[in-house]
Amino acid sequence: MIPELRLVRRRLSPERAARDLGRARPGAIVVFAGTVRPDRSAQGRVLALDYEIDRIPARTRLAELLREAHRRFGVDRAVAWHRYGRVRVGDVAVVVGAASAHRDPAFRAARFLIEEIKRTVPIWKEVRARPARRPRRPPRPRAGRGGGSRRARRPPAARRRAG
């Protein structure tokens, strides 16, 4: 059986969480996987998120949340996994799940876990983005006598000879 609580750099598998939650043959298994979206941010197109954690209090808080999910919703089993380090667009950053005899406690426990992780576990994310390309602007004409630049006043043939 895999651990209920994981804070890891490596990839997370929601399928593995579902398999593990289903071992005791409950009536209901709910798994939520949060992935990195290809959003446009102020810095440009999102390529990845860098997750930072404060490991000791993060583990302590996740363990409390799992205990609380068992106590409040009476689920048979629950998981709360989160990645840290760089997580690329499309990859899974977080997995929560719960298994119980009936669907309502499993849904409620999974919802509780993800909301509380976002709110109370010391994890932060920073956007890694590709800066958006600025549209090319035509060169502004220089101010001067007669208007326009010296180069613009030269006939095209003279320019070719000069090259």
Binding site: D54, P57, K118
Partner: protein, 85 residues
């Protein structure tokens, strides 16, 4: 004899100060957490708004209030608002 507290900064706090760990001098009897926060805000004025929204920990435990004394050798962590998931 005076000593040092190890201040750990995360996320925006780390970015604003430019380092994840700051050794901070304190007297042998320590300083209240509130005083360390005040000194930090004075030393790094741009950190002020982040500090007002942060939670603080002493040796990995959340502080219920800032009256707690932080002693030499302690770790004092600054946690800006969380954003996991």
């Amino acid at each position: 004899m005076a000593g040092e507290v190890r201040i750990r900064l995360f996320a925006t706090a780390r970015q604003l100060v430019g380092t994840a760990v700051l050794p901070w001098p304190v007297p042998s009897g320590g300083l209240r957490a509130a005083e360390i926060v005040r000194q930090l805000a004075a030393a790094y004025p741009r950190l002020g708004p982040t500090l007002s929204a942060s939670r603080f920990l002493r040796n990995h435990r959340y502080l219920a209030d800032l009256a707690t004394t932080i002693r030499p050798g302690d770790e004092f962590a600054v946690h800006p608002p969380y954003g996991g998931g």
